[in-house]
C-alpha cells in the first residue's frame, strides 16, 4: 500500500516536471510573450485562415509564432517582423486587411452598397407618399363617370 502511494506521488511529481518543461519558454519572459501574442493577434494563420496566429494550433502557426519570438529576441521591431512576414506570404498574412488601393472595395464596398440601397429605398418611399396629381375638370368628371357604375360592374 505504501509502495503504491509512493509510486502515485512520484508520478504526480514527474508529470508536474513534464508540464513545467512545456511551459518554461512562456514563463521565462512574460514581457516578450506578451509582445509575441500581441503581434500574433495581428497576423493570420495561413492554414486555419479565419484564425489569427495567436488563436491557431496548426503546426505552421506554432512555427510562425516561434519565428516571431526569435526575431523579437534578435531585436527586430514589430514593423520589421510584419514586413518579414508580408514579404514571404503576402498581404493575406495580415489579419486586418491593409488599407490600399486594391482593398478599398473590400473596406468600403458593403458600406457603399448599404448607402445606395437606403437611398433607393427612401426615394421609392418618398415617391409613394407624393401627392396625387391634380386633375382637370373634364378628367374629374370622366373619373366620376368611370367610378360610379363600379358596384354593378363585373370586372373583379
Amino acid at each position: 500500500m505504501r509502495a503504491l502511494l509512493i509510486v502515485c506521488l512520484w508520478s504526480l511529481a514527474a508529470s508536474q516536471a513534464a508540464i513545467a518543461a512545456e511551459a518554461a519558454p512562456a514563463a521565462a519572459d512574460p514581457q516578450l510573450e506578451a509582445r509575441v501574442m500581441a503581434l500574433s493577434n495581428e497576423l493570420r494563420c495561413l492554414v486555419c485562415q479565419n484564425q489569427s496566429l495567436a488563436d491557431s494550433n496548426a503546426e505552421l502557426a506554432v512555427d510562425l509564432r516561434n519565428q516571431v519570438r526569435e526575431k523579437m529576441k534578435q531585436g527586430m521591431t514589430e514593423r520589421e517582423i510584419v514586413d518579414y512576414m508580408v514579404a514571404r506570404y503576402g498581404d493575406f498574412v495580415l489579419y486586418r486587411p491593409p488599407m490600399k488601393g486594391s482593398t478599398l472595395v473590400l473596406w468600403f464596398g458593403p458600406l457603399i452598397l448599404l448607402v445606395v440601397g437606403l437611398a433607393v429605398l427612401f426615394r421609392r418611399l418618398a415617391a409613394r407618399r407624393a401627392p396625387e396629381p391634380e386633375l382637370t375638370e373634364s378628367e374629374r368628371a370622366r373619373a366620376a363617370a368611370l367610378l360610379a357604375p363600379e358596384d354593378r360592374a363585373d370586372s373583379r
Binding site: R88, Y89, A127, R128
Partner: protein, 185 residues
C-alpha cells in the same frame, strides 16, 4: 385595381438598378471560380531566397539554390507525412523521366529515415533533396501547405509557384510551356 397610385420609376433608374444588380452577380460569379484558400505568393519574379541545407541522402553534402545558377529547375516541397504528395508523385516521377526539367526536392519538417523510406517506396524523381528539418527554409519560401512547387529560372528568380498537387494538366498547360520559354532566355 388598387386605389393607390404606384409611381413607376423612370426607365433610366430601373436600367441602372438592373445594371448594378448584374454587376454584383458578375462579381460573385467570378468569385465562385476562385480558390479562397490559395494565398498568391509575393515571391513571383523575386530572387529565390538563399539557403544552405544538408542533403537528405548524404548529410555530409549541402545544397544551395546558388548551385543551380544557369539552369532552369523545379523545386518541389514534399514530406513523408503529406498524403497529397503521394497523389502528385507519379506526375513528378514521369516528369523526371522525360528529362524536360531537373527536379530538386525540399524535404520539409520530416524525419530523415521516414523521408528516405518514402522515396524508396514511391520513387525518387529528385536529383537530390534538401533536408529542412525545422521548416525555416519553408517559411522563407512562403510555404504554408505541402506540396508546393516552384519553377526557378537561370538567374535564380522564382517565376512560377504551384500551391497544391501538381496535376498532369498543370504540367502540360503551365509548367512545360514556361520551362520552354525560360530555357530559351
Amino acid at each position: 385595381m388598387s386605389a393607390e397610385t404606384v409611381q413607376k420609376a423612370p426607365a433610366l433608374s430601373r436600367f441602372l438598378l438592373l445594371g448594378a444588380f448584374a454587376a454584383l452577380v458578375a462579381l460573385l460569379a467570378v468569385g465562385l471560380t476562385l480558390n479562397p484558400r490559395e494565398v498568391p505568393s509575393p515571391l513571383i519574379d523575386k530572387p529565390a531566397p538563399p539557403f544552405e541545407l544538408p542533403q537528405l541522402h548524404d548529410r555530409t553534402k549541402t545544397f544551395s539554390p546558388a548551385d543551380m545558377r544557369g539552369q532552369v529547375w523545379l523545386f518541389n516541397v514534399w514530406a513523408s507525412w503529406c498524403a497529397s504528395c503521394r497523389d502528385e508523385h507519379p506526375v513528378l516521377v514521369e516528369l523526371a523521366r522525360s528529362g524536360a526539367v531537373p527536379i530538386y526536392g525540399l524535404n520539409y519538417k520530416d524525419q530523415r529515415d521516414a523521408g528516405l523510406a518514402w522515396l524508396k517506396q514511391f520513387g525518387d524523381p529528385y536529383r537530390l533533396s534538401a533536408f529542412d528539418a525545422k521548416g525555416a527554409v519553408g517559411i522563407d519560401y512562403g510555404v504554408y501547405g505541402v506540396p508546393e512547387t516552384y519553377l526557378i529560372d537561370k538567374r535564380g528568380v522564382i517565376r512560377y509557384k504551384r500551391i497544391g498537387v501538381l496535376t498532369p494538366e498543370i504540367v502540360q498547360t503551365k509548367v512545360l510551356p514556361l520551362v520552354d520559354k525560360l530555357q530559351k532566355e
